[in-house]
Amino acid sequence: MQVDQLYQEIILDHYKHPHGRGLREPYAAEAHHVNPTCGDEVTIRVALDDDTLSDVSYDGMGCSISQASASVLHELLTGRDTGQAFAVHAAFVELMSGRGQVTPEEELLGDAVAFAGVARYPARVKCALLPWMAFKDAAARAGVDVEAGNEDSNERSEVKTA
Protein backbone atom coordinates (compact mmCIF):
# COMPACT_ATOMS: atom_id res chain seq x y z
CA MET A 1 0.00 0.00 0.00
CA GLN A 2 1.19 3.46 -0.81
CA VAL A 3 1.37 5.54 2.27
CA ASP A 4 0.85 8.79 0.36
CA GLN A 5 -2.66 7.56 -0.56
CA LEU A 6 -3.35 7.74 3.14
CA TYR A 7 -1.45 10.90 3.93
CA GLN A 8 -2.89 13.11 1.20
CA GLU A 9 -1.49 16.62 1.07
CA ILE A 10 -4.90 17.99 2.15
CA ILE A 11 -4.88 15.83 5.27
CA LEU A 12 -1.36 16.84 6.25
CA ASP A 13 -2.31 20.45 5.64
CA HIS A 14 -5.32 20.31 7.93
CA TYR A 15 -3.19 18.50 10.53
CA LYS A 16 -0.39 21.05 10.50
CA HIS A 17 -2.69 24.07 10.14
CA PRO A 18 -6.01 23.15 11.72
CA HIS A 19 -9.01 25.33 10.90
CA GLY A 20 -11.17 26.69 13.69
CA ARG A 21 -9.51 24.73 16.43
CA GLY A 22 -10.37 25.54 20.06
CA LEU A 23 -13.54 25.25 22.14
CA ARG A 24 -15.79 28.29 21.90
CA GLU A 25 -18.72 29.80 23.78
CA PRO A 26 -21.63 29.91 23.61
CA TYR A 27 -22.62 26.36 22.70
CA ALA A 28 -25.71 24.21 22.94
CA ALA A 29 -24.00 20.92 23.81
CA GLU A 30 -20.72 19.11 23.64
CA ALA A 31 -19.45 15.54 23.48
CA HIS A 32 -16.10 14.02 24.29
CA HIS A 33 -15.11 10.83 22.50
CA VAL A 34 -12.05 8.69 23.01
CA ASN A 35 -10.70 5.82 21.00
CA PRO A 36 -9.88 3.33 23.74
CA THR A 37 -7.41 1.37 21.65
CA CYS A 38 -5.06 4.29 21.06
CA GLY A 39 -6.13 7.01 23.46
CA ASP A 40 -6.98 9.61 20.82
CA GLU A 41 -9.48 12.16 22.12
CA VAL A 42 -11.70 14.81 20.69
CA THR A 43 -14.26 17.20 22.13
CA ILE A 44 -16.84 18.75 19.83
CA ARG A 45 -19.18 21.63 20.66
CA VAL A 46 -22.15 22.67 18.58
CA ALA A 47 -23.81 26.05 18.69
CA LEU A 48 -27.25 26.41 17.10
CA ASP A 49 -29.10 29.34 15.65
CA ASP A 50 -32.53 27.83 14.96
CA ASP A 51 -31.72 25.10 12.47
CA THR A 52 -28.32 26.45 11.57
CA LEU A 53 -25.05 25.22 13.03
CA SER A 54 -23.65 28.64 13.85
CA ASP A 55 -20.44 27.09 15.16
CA VAL A 56 -18.80 23.70 15.44
CA SER A 57 -15.76 24.07 17.66
CA TYR A 58 -13.40 21.36 18.78
CA ASP A 59 -10.27 20.40 20.60
CA GLY A 60 -8.40 17.15 20.65
CA MET A 61 -5.27 15.14 20.89
CA GLY A 62 -4.25 12.40 18.56
CA CYS A 63 -2.89 11.28 15.24
CA SER A 64 -2.88 13.27 12.02
CA ILE A 65 -5.95 11.46 10.68
CA SER A 66 -8.20 12.13 13.68
CA GLN A 67 -7.10 15.73 14.08
CA ALA A 68 -7.28 16.59 10.38
CA SER A 69 -10.72 15.00 10.29
CA ALA A 70 -11.89 17.34 13.07
CA SER A 71 -10.56 20.34 11.15
CA VAL A 72 -12.35 19.26 7.97
CA LEU A 73 -15.55 18.63 9.92
CA HIS A 74 -15.46 22.12 11.34
CA GLU A 75 -14.98 23.60 7.92
CA LEU A 76 -17.67 21.54 6.22
CA LEU A 77 -20.42 21.79 8.79
CA THR A 78 -20.17 25.27 10.28
CA GLY A 79 -22.90 27.49 8.90
CA ARG A 80 -24.97 24.65 7.43
CA ASP A 81 -28.48 23.81 8.46
CA THR A 82 -28.72 20.58 10.38
CA GLY A 83 -30.40 18.67 7.58
CA GLN A 84 -27.53 19.40 5.18
CA ALA A 85 -24.99 18.70 7.92
CA PHE A 86 -26.35 15.22 8.41
CA ALA A 87 -26.36 14.58 4.70
CA VAL A 88 -22.62 15.37 4.75
CA HIS A 89 -22.23 13.25 7.87
CA ALA A 90 -23.93 10.27 6.23
CA ALA A 91 -21.81 10.66 3.08
CA PHE A 92 -18.61 10.73 5.14
CA VAL A 93 -19.58 7.68 7.18
CA GLU A 94 -20.47 5.85 3.96
CA LEU A 95 -17.12 6.78 2.44
CA MET A 96 -15.24 5.57 5.51
CA SER A 97 -17.16 2.30 5.68
CA GLY A 98 -16.57 1.55 2.02
CA ARG A 99 -13.15 -0.12 2.26
CA GLY A 100 -12.02 2.13 -0.58
CA GLN A 101 -14.80 0.97 -2.92
CA VAL A 102 -17.03 4.04 -2.52
CA THR A 103 -16.60 6.97 -4.90
CA PRO A 104 -16.75 10.12 -2.81
CA GLU A 105 -19.33 12.81 -3.62
CA GLU A 106 -17.04 15.75 -4.20
CA GLU A 107 -19.85 18.28 -4.19
CA LEU A 108 -20.98 17.29 -0.73
CA LEU A 109 -17.70 16.32 0.89
CA GLY A 110 -15.25 19.00 -0.17
CA ASP A 111 -11.83 18.45 1.47
CA ALA A 112 -13.19 15.30 3.11
CA VAL A 113 -12.75 13.44 -0.19
CA ALA A 114 -9.08 13.28 0.75
CA PHE A 115 -10.07 10.69 3.36
CA ALA A 116 -11.07 8.21 0.65
CA GLY A 117 -7.64 6.59 0.99
CA VAL A 118 -8.09 6.15 4.75
CA ALA A 119 -10.98 3.77 4.11
CA ARG A 120 -8.44 1.26 2.78
CA TYR A 121 -6.73 1.14 6.18
CA PRO A 122 -9.25 -0.54 8.52
CA ALA A 123 -7.08 0.28 11.54
CA ARG A 124 -7.37 3.99 10.76
CA VAL A 125 -11.05 4.32 9.88
CA LYS A 126 -11.85 4.78 13.56
CA CYS A 127 -9.40 7.68 13.74
CA ALA A 128 -11.15 9.48 10.88
CA LEU A 129 -14.61 8.83 12.30
CA LEU A 130 -13.81 9.88 15.87
CA PRO A 131 -14.74 13.59 15.52
CA TRP A 132 -17.77 12.79 13.37
CA MET A 133 -19.19 10.45 15.99
CA ALA A 134 -18.54 13.03 18.68
CA PHE A 135 -20.29 15.63 16.51
CA LYS A 136 -23.33 13.42 16.13
CA ASP A 137 -23.50 12.92 19.87
CA ALA A 138 -23.15 16.61 20.58
CA ALA A 139 -25.86 17.44 18.05
CA ALA A 140 -28.19 14.87 19.60
CA ARG A 141 -27.59 16.39 23.01
CA ALA A 142 -28.43 19.78 21.55
CA GLY A 143 -31.79 18.40 20.51
CA VAL A 144 -31.10 17.89 16.82
CA ASP A 145 -32.88 14.91 15.28
CA VAL A 146 -29.97 12.78 14.14
CA GLU A 147 -31.95 9.66 13.30
CA ALA A 148 -30.92 9.82 9.67
CA GLY A 149 -27.28 9.29 10.64
CA ASN A 150 -25.21 6.15 10.77
CA GLU A 151 -25.26 4.00 13.90
CA ASP A 152 -22.07 2.02 13.84
CA SER A 153 -19.89 3.93 16.22
CA ASN A 154 -18.35 1.84 18.95
CA GLU A 155 -16.32 4.56 20.56
CA ARG A 156 -17.16 5.34 24.13
CA SER A 157 -18.86 8.58 24.83
CA GLU A 158 -19.07 10.55 27.99
CA VAL A 159 -20.49 13.86 29.02
CA LYS A 160 -17.63 16.11 29.91
CA THR A 161 -17.70 17.05 33.55
CA ALA A 162 -14.82 19.50 33.76
Binding site: M1, D4, Y7, C38, D40, M61, S64, Y121
Partner: protein, 434 residues
Protein backbone atom coordinates in the same frame (compact mmCIF):
# COMPACT_ATOMS: atom_id res chain seq x y z
CA UNK B 1 29.76 1.10 21.54
CA UNK B 2 32.62 1.72 23.88
CA UNK B 3 34.54 -1.34 24.95
CA UNK B 4 35.86 -1.85 28.43
CA UNK B 5 38.36 -4.39 29.66
CA UNK B 6 36.83 -7.03 31.88
CA UNK B 7 39.05 -7.91 34.85
CA UNK B 8 40.66 -11.35 34.66
CA UNK B 9 38.70 -14.02 36.47
CA UNK B 10 35.39 -12.46 35.47
CA UNK B 11 33.41 -13.99 32.62
CA UNK B 12 34.85 -12.67 29.35
CA UNK B 13 32.80 -11.79 26.29
CA UNK B 14 34.08 -14.86 24.51
CA UNK B 15 32.56 -17.09 27.17
CA UNK B 16 29.13 -15.97 26.19
CA UNK B 17 27.23 -18.64 24.28
CA UNK B 18 26.35 -17.57 20.76
CA UNK B 19 24.27 -18.85 17.90
CA UNK B 20 23.87 -18.24 14.21
CA UNK B 21 20.98 -15.78 13.84
CA UNK B 22 20.52 -16.51 10.14
CA UNK B 23 20.15 -20.22 10.89
CA UNK B 24 17.56 -19.38 13.55
CA UNK B 25 15.67 -17.14 11.12
CA UNK B 26 15.44 -20.02 8.67
CA UNK B 27 13.35 -21.86 11.27
CA UNK B 28 10.65 -19.17 11.15
CA UNK B 29 8.69 -19.43 7.88
CA UNK B 30 6.92 -16.08 8.33
CA UNK B 31 10.19 -14.16 8.44
CA UNK B 32 10.56 -14.80 4.72
CA UNK B 33 7.45 -12.84 3.78
CA UNK B 34 7.14 -9.34 2.43
CA UNK B 35 5.03 -6.46 3.70
CA UNK B 36 4.07 -3.68 1.31
CA UNK B 37 6.77 -4.72 -1.11
CA UNK B 38 9.56 -4.81 1.47
CA UNK B 39 11.04 -7.76 3.36
CA UNK B 40 9.09 -7.89 6.61
CA UNK B 41 10.99 -6.44 9.58
CA UNK B 42 9.09 -7.81 12.55
CA UNK B 43 9.79 -5.68 15.61
CA UNK B 44 6.71 -6.56 17.64
CA UNK B 45 7.72 -9.70 19.50
CA UNK B 46 6.77 -8.24 22.89
CA UNK B 47 3.24 -8.24 21.53
CA UNK B 48 3.43 -11.75 20.17
CA UNK B 49 6.38 -13.76 18.93
CA UNK B 50 6.68 -15.60 15.65
CA UNK B 51 6.63 -19.41 15.61
CA UNK B 52 9.37 -21.75 14.40
CA UNK B 53 8.62 -24.71 12.14
CA UNK B 54 9.48 -27.06 15.01
CA UNK B 55 6.52 -25.73 17.01
CA UNK B 56 4.17 -25.68 14.03
CA UNK B 57 5.16 -29.27 13.25
CA UNK B 58 4.48 -30.35 16.83
CA UNK B 59 1.03 -28.80 16.64
CA UNK B 60 0.17 -30.51 13.38
CA UNK B 61 1.67 -33.80 14.42
CA UNK B 62 -0.37 -33.83 17.57
CA UNK B 63 -3.61 -33.47 15.62
CA UNK B 64 -2.52 -35.82 12.85
CA UNK B 65 -1.18 -38.60 15.06
CA UNK B 66 -2.07 -38.35 18.74
CA UNK B 67 -5.35 -36.50 19.15
CA UNK B 68 -7.56 -37.63 22.02
CA UNK B 69 -8.88 -36.06 25.19
CA UNK B 70 -6.64 -36.09 28.23
CA UNK B 71 -7.01 -37.79 31.60
CA UNK B 72 -10.25 -39.53 30.76
CA UNK B 73 -9.56 -42.31 28.28
CA UNK B 74 -8.07 -45.76 28.45
CA UNK B 75 -7.59 -45.90 24.70
CA UNK B 76 -4.29 -45.51 22.94
CA UNK B 77 -4.58 -42.04 21.46
CA UNK B 78 -6.10 -40.72 24.70
CA UNK B 79 -3.14 -42.13 26.57
CA UNK B 80 -0.70 -40.65 24.06
CA UNK B 81 -2.38 -37.25 24.30
CA UNK B 82 -2.25 -37.40 28.10
CA UNK B 83 1.42 -38.31 28.01
CA UNK B 84 2.18 -35.48 25.61
CA UNK B 85 0.21 -32.98 27.69
CA UNK B 86 1.83 -34.05 30.96
CA UNK B 87 5.19 -34.24 29.20
CA UNK B 88 4.81 -30.59 28.22
CA UNK B 89 4.09 -29.74 31.84
CA UNK B 90 7.32 -31.43 32.89
CA UNK B 91 9.28 -29.56 30.18
CA UNK B 92 7.89 -26.24 31.34
CA UNK B 93 8.72 -27.10 34.95
CA UNK B 94 12.33 -27.84 34.03
CA UNK B 95 12.51 -24.67 31.93
CA UNK B 96 11.73 -22.46 34.94
CA UNK B 97 13.44 -24.77 37.46
CA UNK B 98 10.20 -25.56 39.27
CA UNK B 99 10.72 -28.21 41.97
CA UNK B 100 7.80 -30.25 40.61
CA UNK B 101 5.68 -30.39 37.43
CA UNK B 102 2.63 -30.33 39.72
CA UNK B 103 3.42 -26.67 40.40
CA UNK B 104 2.76 -25.83 36.73
CA UNK B 105 -0.88 -24.96 36.05
CA UNK B 106 -1.85 -24.63 32.39
CA UNK B 107 -4.14 -21.70 31.67
CA UNK B 108 -5.09 -19.67 28.61
CA UNK B 109 -2.58 -16.83 29.03
CA UNK B 110 -0.95 -14.56 31.63
CA UNK B 111 -4.18 -12.66 32.09
CA UNK B 112 -6.00 -15.81 33.12
CA UNK B 113 -3.13 -16.85 35.40
CA UNK B 114 -3.30 -13.57 37.31
CA UNK B 115 -7.09 -13.59 37.46
CA UNK B 116 -6.97 -17.16 38.75
CA UNK B 117 -4.92 -16.06 41.75
CA UNK B 118 -7.17 -13.03 42.28
CA UNK B 119 -10.30 -15.18 42.29
CA UNK B 120 -8.70 -17.71 44.61
CA UNK B 121 -8.20 -14.82 47.05
CA UNK B 122 -11.83 -13.87 46.51
CA UNK B 123 -13.12 -17.35 47.12
CA UNK B 124 -11.00 -17.77 50.24
CA UNK B 125 -12.34 -14.48 51.56
CA UNK B 126 -16.03 -15.39 51.52
CA UNK B 127 -17.33 -17.81 54.11
CA UNK B 128 -15.29 -19.56 56.73
CA UNK B 129 -12.39 -21.92 56.36
CA UNK B 130 -10.33 -20.09 53.75
CA UNK B 131 -6.58 -20.21 54.26
CA UNK B 132 -5.67 -17.00 56.14
CA UNK B 133 -2.93 -16.17 53.61
CA UNK B 134 -5.62 -15.75 50.95
CA UNK B 135 -8.23 -14.01 53.07
CA UNK B 136 -8.75 -10.37 52.30
CA UNK B 137 -10.91 -7.70 53.83
CA UNK B 138 -11.02 -4.02 54.66
CA UNK B 139 -7.68 -2.89 56.07
CA UNK B 140 -5.70 -5.40 54.02
CA UNK B 141 -3.49 -4.14 51.21
CA UNK B 142 -2.32 -5.34 47.81
CA UNK B 143 0.73 -3.69 46.28
CA UNK B 144 1.41 -3.44 42.54
CA UNK B 145 3.39 -0.91 40.52
CA UNK B 146 2.79 1.91 38.10
CA UNK B 147 4.55 0.02 35.30
CA UNK B 148 2.13 -2.90 35.15
CA UNK B 149 0.33 -4.25 32.14
CA UNK B 150 -3.43 -3.76 32.55
CA UNK B 151 -3.72 -7.47 33.24
CA UNK B 152 -1.75 -7.00 36.46
CA UNK B 153 -3.81 -3.96 37.48
CA UNK B 154 -7.46 -4.57 36.74
CA UNK B 155 -7.79 -8.02 38.41
CA UNK B 156 -6.51 -6.46 41.65
CA UNK B 157 -8.77 -3.42 41.34
CA UNK B 158 -11.70 -5.78 40.94
CA UNK B 159 -10.52 -7.92 43.85
CA UNK B 160 -10.23 -4.85 46.07
CA UNK B 161 -13.75 -3.81 45.06
CA UNK B 162 -15.08 -7.23 46.02
CA UNK B 163 -13.26 -7.51 49.34
CA UNK B 164 -12.82 -3.94 50.56
CA UNK B 165 -9.02 -4.28 50.53
CA UNK B 166 -6.86 -1.34 49.42
CA UNK B 167 -4.71 -1.23 46.28
CA UNK B 168 -1.36 0.58 46.46
CA UNK B 169 1.54 0.85 44.05
CA UNK B 170 5.24 1.52 43.57
CA UNK B 171 5.79 4.66 41.51
CA UNK B 172 8.13 4.76 38.51
CA UNK B 173 11.20 7.02 38.34
CA UNK B 174 11.94 9.44 35.51
CA UNK B 175 14.50 6.93 34.28
CA UNK B 176 11.82 4.26 33.95
CA UNK B 177 12.78 2.17 36.97
CA UNK B 178 10.73 1.07 39.95
CA UNK B 179 10.92 3.63 42.71
CA UNK B 180 11.65 1.50 45.77
CA UNK B 181 12.35 4.42 48.08
CA UNK B 182 9.06 3.95 49.92
CA UNK B 183 9.40 0.16 50.15
CA UNK B 184 9.32 -0.10 53.95
CA UNK B 185 6.12 1.88 54.24
CA UNK B 186 4.46 0.57 51.09
CA UNK B 187 4.96 -3.08 51.94
CA UNK B 188 3.93 -3.45 55.56
CA UNK B 189 2.09 -5.68 58.03
CA UNK B 190 -1.20 -5.01 56.28
CA UNK B 191 0.13 -6.21 52.93
CA UNK B 192 -1.25 -9.57 51.82
CA UNK B 193 0.11 -9.68 48.28
CA UNK B 194 2.74 -7.90 46.21
CA UNK B 195 2.42 -8.37 42.45
CA UNK B 196 4.67 -6.69 39.93
CA UNK B 197 6.18 -7.11 36.53
CA UNK B 198 9.56 -8.81 36.12
CA UNK B 199 10.23 -7.11 32.80
CA UNK B 200 8.09 -4.17 31.66
CA UNK B 201 6.40 -4.61 28.30
CA UNK B 202 6.50 -0.87 27.63
CA UNK B 203 9.69 0.47 29.23
CA UNK B 204 11.78 -2.66 28.78
CA UNK B 205 12.94 -2.39 32.39
CA UNK B 206 14.01 -5.60 34.09
CA UNK B 207 13.20 -5.17 37.75
CA UNK B 208 15.64 -6.30 40.40
CA UNK B 209 13.48 -8.31 42.75
CA UNK B 210 15.71 -9.17 45.73
CA UNK B 211 15.03 -6.16 47.97
CA UNK B 212 11.30 -6.33 47.48
CA UNK B 213 11.26 -10.09 47.99
CA UNK B 214 13.11 -9.71 51.26
CA UNK B 215 10.60 -7.15 52.49
CA UNK B 216 7.68 -9.31 51.35
CA UNK B 217 9.07 -12.18 53.42
CA UNK B 218 9.57 -9.91 56.44
CA UNK B 219 5.92 -8.90 56.51
CA UNK B 220 4.60 -12.35 55.63
CA UNK B 221 2.89 -11.37 52.38
CA UNK B 222 2.78 -13.34 49.14
CA UNK B 223 4.69 -12.42 45.96
CA UNK B 224 3.50 -12.78 42.37
CA UNK B 225 5.76 -11.86 39.47
CA UNK B 226 4.35 -11.15 36.04
CA UNK B 227 7.00 -12.88 33.94
CA UNK B 228 5.19 -12.52 30.61
CA UNK B 229 8.15 -10.64 29.15
CA UNK B 230 10.99 -12.29 31.05
CA UNK B 231 10.41 -16.02 30.62
CA UNK B 232 10.60 -15.72 26.79
CA UNK B 233 13.81 -13.68 26.83
CA UNK B 234 16.07 -14.69 29.71
CA UNK B 235 16.72 -17.62 32.01
CA UNK B 236 14.10 -17.55 34.76
CA UNK B 237 14.56 -19.72 37.83
CA UNK B 238 11.64 -19.70 40.25
CA UNK B 239 13.74 -21.05 43.10
CA UNK B 240 16.30 -18.33 42.62
CA UNK B 241 13.60 -15.65 42.30
CA UNK B 242 12.00 -16.88 45.52
CA UNK B 243 8.54 -15.88 44.28
CA UNK B 244 5.27 -17.50 45.31
CA UNK B 245 3.59 -17.30 41.91
CA UNK B 246 4.71 -16.40 38.42
CA UNK B 247 2.57 -15.90 35.32
CA UNK B 248 3.61 -16.17 31.70
CA UNK B 249 2.06 -16.66 28.31
CA UNK B 250 2.98 -19.08 25.52
CA UNK B 251 2.40 -16.89 22.49
CA UNK B 252 5.26 -14.58 23.44
CA UNK B 253 7.73 -17.49 23.60
CA UNK B 254 7.35 -19.16 20.21
CA UNK B 255 4.26 -21.18 21.21
CA UNK B 256 0.73 -20.74 19.87
CA UNK B 257 -1.85 -18.47 21.47
CA UNK B 258 -4.30 -20.05 23.91
CA UNK B 259 -1.78 -21.48 26.36
CA UNK B 260 -0.20 -19.86 29.39
CA UNK B 261 1.20 -20.86 32.74
CA UNK B 262 0.58 -20.12 36.36
CA UNK B 263 3.43 -21.45 38.42
CA UNK B 264 2.82 -21.54 42.17
CA UNK B 265 4.65 -22.94 45.15
CA UNK B 266 3.21 -26.44 45.67
CA UNK B 267 2.20 -25.83 49.25
CA UNK B 268 0.36 -22.61 48.31
CA UNK B 269 -1.47 -24.13 45.36
CA UNK B 270 -2.59 -26.91 47.71
CA UNK B 271 -4.05 -24.30 50.08
CA UNK B 272 -5.84 -22.41 47.30
CA UNK B 273 -9.56 -22.91 46.73
CA UNK B 274 -10.66 -23.77 43.19
CA UNK B 275 -11.82 -21.03 40.84
CA UNK B 276 -13.47 -22.75 37.88
CA UNK B 277 -15.62 -25.81 38.56
CA UNK B 278 -16.23 -28.63 36.14
CA UNK B 279 -14.76 -31.81 34.76
CA UNK B 280 -11.21 -32.91 35.56
CA UNK B 281 -10.84 -30.69 38.64
CA UNK B 282 -12.76 -32.90 41.06
CA UNK B 283 -11.99 -35.77 43.35
CA UNK B 284 -15.57 -36.91 43.84
CA UNK B 285 -18.89 -35.33 43.01
CA UNK B 286 -22.17 -35.91 44.82
CA UNK B 287 -25.38 -33.96 44.45
CA UNK B 288 -24.84 -32.65 47.99
CA UNK B 289 -21.30 -31.41 47.37
CA UNK B 290 -17.95 -32.21 45.84
CA UNK B 291 -14.32 -32.53 46.78
CA UNK B 292 -11.51 -31.32 44.62
CA UNK B 293 -8.47 -32.79 42.98
CA UNK B 294 -5.01 -31.74 44.14
CA UNK B 295 -3.17 -29.15 42.02
CA UNK B 296 -2.56 -28.68 39.19
CA UNK B 297 -5.77 -30.50 38.11
CA UNK B 298 -7.82 -28.51 40.63
CA UNK B 299 -7.24 -25.40 38.54
CA UNK B 300 -7.70 -26.94 35.10
CA UNK B 301 -11.45 -27.45 34.83
CA UNK B 302 -12.72 -28.75 31.52
CA UNK B 303 -10.80 -29.90 28.45
CA UNK B 304 -7.59 -27.87 28.41
CA UNK B 305 -5.79 -26.48 25.35
CA UNK B 306 -4.06 -29.82 24.75
CA UNK B 307 -2.33 -29.29 21.42
CA UNK B 308 -1.32 -25.78 22.47
CA UNK B 309 0.30 -27.15 25.63
CA UNK B 310 2.14 -29.77 23.60
CA UNK B 311 3.33 -27.04 21.25
CA UNK B 312 4.46 -24.98 24.24
CA UNK B 313 6.55 -27.99 25.24
CA UNK B 314 8.05 -27.95 21.75
CA UNK B 315 8.73 -24.22 22.07
CA UNK B 316 10.52 -24.81 25.36
CA UNK B 317 12.62 -27.52 23.67
CA UNK B 318 13.41 -25.12 20.85
CA UNK B 319 14.44 -22.27 23.14
CA UNK B 320 16.44 -24.59 25.37
CA UNK B 321 18.21 -25.99 22.30
CA UNK B 322 19.46 -22.52 21.44
CA UNK B 323 20.02 -21.64 25.06
CA UNK B 324 18.31 -18.94 27.10
CA UNK B 325 21.65 -17.45 28.10
CA UNK B 326 22.57 -17.11 24.45
CA UNK B 327 19.21 -15.55 23.61
CA UNK B 328 19.56 -13.12 26.51
CA UNK B 329 23.00 -12.11 25.33
CA UNK B 330 21.94 -11.75 21.71
CA UNK B 331 19.16 -9.38 22.75
CA UNK B 332 21.46 -7.46 25.05
CA UNK B 333 23.90 -6.75 22.22
CA UNK B 334 21.04 -5.87 19.92
CA UNK B 335 19.60 -3.51 22.52
CA UNK B 336 22.94 -1.76 22.95
CA UNK B 337 23.16 -1.39 19.18
CA UNK B 338 19.58 -0.10 18.91
CA UNK B 339 19.92 2.40 21.75
CA UNK B 340 23.00 3.84 20.04
CA UNK B 341 21.30 3.88 16.64
CA UNK B 342 18.09 5.50 17.89
CA UNK B 343 20.09 8.21 19.57
CA UNK B 344 21.07 9.44 16.10
CA UNK B 345 17.44 10.14 15.15
CA UNK B 346 16.65 13.84 15.68
CA UNK B 347 13.78 14.55 18.05
CA UNK B 348 13.62 10.99 19.36
CA UNK B 349 13.00 10.44 23.07
CA UNK B 350 13.29 7.05 24.74
CA UNK B 351 10.90 6.12 27.54
CA UNK B 352 12.68 3.76 29.90
CA UNK B 353 16.32 2.98 30.63
CA UNK B 354 18.65 4.40 27.99
CA UNK B 355 21.53 2.05 28.76
CA UNK B 356 21.47 -1.68 28.01
CA UNK B 357 21.71 -2.60 31.67
CA UNK B 358 18.74 -3.85 33.68
CA UNK B 359 16.61 -3.73 30.60
CA UNK B 360 15.56 -6.04 27.81
CA UNK B 361 15.11 -5.63 24.07
CA UNK B 362 11.88 -3.67 24.15
CA UNK B 363 12.30 0.04 23.41
CA UNK B 364 9.52 2.63 23.57
CA UNK B 365 10.04 6.05 22.09
CA UNK B 366 8.41 9.23 20.91
CA UNK B 367 9.24 11.36 17.87
CA UNK B 368 8.76 15.01 18.61
CA UNK B 369 5.57 16.41 17.09
CA UNK B 370 4.55 13.18 15.37
CA UNK B 371 1.84 10.95 16.75
CA UNK B 372 2.81 7.27 17.24
CA UNK B 373 -0.09 6.17 15.00
CA UNK B 374 1.45 8.08 12.16
CA UNK B 375 4.91 6.74 12.96
CA UNK B 376 3.62 3.17 12.91
CA UNK B 377 1.72 3.71 9.68
CA UNK B 378 4.68 5.06 7.74
CA UNK B 379 6.94 2.34 9.17
CA UNK B 380 4.44 -0.29 8.03
CA UNK B 381 4.57 1.12 4.53
CA UNK B 382 8.32 0.35 4.71
CA UNK B 383 7.65 -3.18 5.96
CA UNK B 384 8.66 -2.37 9.53
CA UNK B 385 6.15 -3.76 12.02
CA UNK B 386 6.14 -1.97 15.38
CA UNK B 387 3.42 -1.47 17.96
CA UNK B 388 1.94 1.93 18.68
CA UNK B 389 -0.46 2.95 21.43
CA UNK B 390 -0.48 2.64 25.19
CA UNK B 391 0.62 -1.02 25.11
CA UNK B 392 -1.99 -1.96 27.73
CA UNK B 393 0.06 0.03 30.25
CA UNK B 394 -1.78 3.33 30.18
CA UNK B 395 -0.54 4.46 33.63
CA UNK B 396 3.01 4.47 32.22
CA UNK B 397 1.95 6.78 29.39
CA UNK B 398 0.24 9.05 31.91
CA UNK B 399 3.39 8.96 34.05
CA UNK B 400 5.47 10.21 31.13
CA UNK B 401 2.82 12.63 29.92
CA UNK B 402 2.18 11.10 26.50
CA UNK B 403 -0.99 9.56 25.08
CA UNK B 404 0.91 6.77 23.37
CA UNK B 405 4.35 5.57 22.35
CA UNK B 406 5.97 3.70 19.48
CA UNK B 407 7.60 0.46 20.56
CA UNK B 408 10.16 -1.75 18.86
CA UNK B 409 10.74 -5.13 20.47
CA UNK B 410 13.29 -7.77 19.64
CA UNK B 411 13.64 -11.51 19.94
CA UNK B 412 16.10 -14.27 19.19
CA UNK B 413 15.59 -13.84 15.43
CA UNK B 414 16.04 -10.05 15.29
CA UNK B 415 19.12 -8.70 13.48
CA UNK B 416 21.10 -5.46 13.56
CA UNK B 417 20.06 -5.06 9.90
CA UNK B 418 16.47 -4.85 11.09
CA UNK B 419 17.40 -2.17 13.60
CA UNK B 420 18.96 -0.26 10.69
CA UNK B 421 15.71 -0.66 8.73
CA UNK B 422 13.85 0.86 11.68
CA UNK B 423 16.16 3.84 11.78
CA UNK B 424 15.81 4.32 8.00
CA UNK B 425 12.03 4.05 8.38
CA UNK B 426 12.09 6.78 11.01
CA UNK B 427 13.88 9.07 8.53
CA UNK B 428 11.00 8.42 6.15
CA UNK B 429 8.51 9.29 8.91
CA UNK B 430 10.28 12.59 9.49
CA UNK B 431 10.20 13.30 5.77
CA UNK B 432 6.42 12.77 5.53
CA UNK B 433 5.67 14.85 8.63
CA UNK B 434 8.62 17.23 8.49
Amino acid sequence: MTSIAIPPGMPQYDDVPRYDVEAVRADFPILGREVNGHPMVYLDSANTSQKPRQVLDALRQHYERHNGNVSRSVHTVGTEATEAYEGARAKVATFINAPSPDEVVFVKNSTEAINLVAYAFSNASVGAGGDPRFRLGPGDEIVISEMEHHSNIVPWQLLCERTGATLRWFPVTDGGRLDESGLEELVNERTKLVSFVHMSNILGTINATARITERVRQVGALLLLDCSQSVPHLPVDVVDLDADFIAFTGHKMCAPSGIGVLWGRGELLAAMPPVFGGGSMIETVAMTGSTYAPPPARFEAGTPPIAEAVALGAAVDYLTGIGMRAIQWHEKELTAYALDALETVPGLRIFGPTVPVGRGGTISFGLEGIHPHDVGQVLDAEGVEVRVGHHCARPVCVRFGVPATTRASFYLYTTTGEVDALVRGLEQVRKVFG
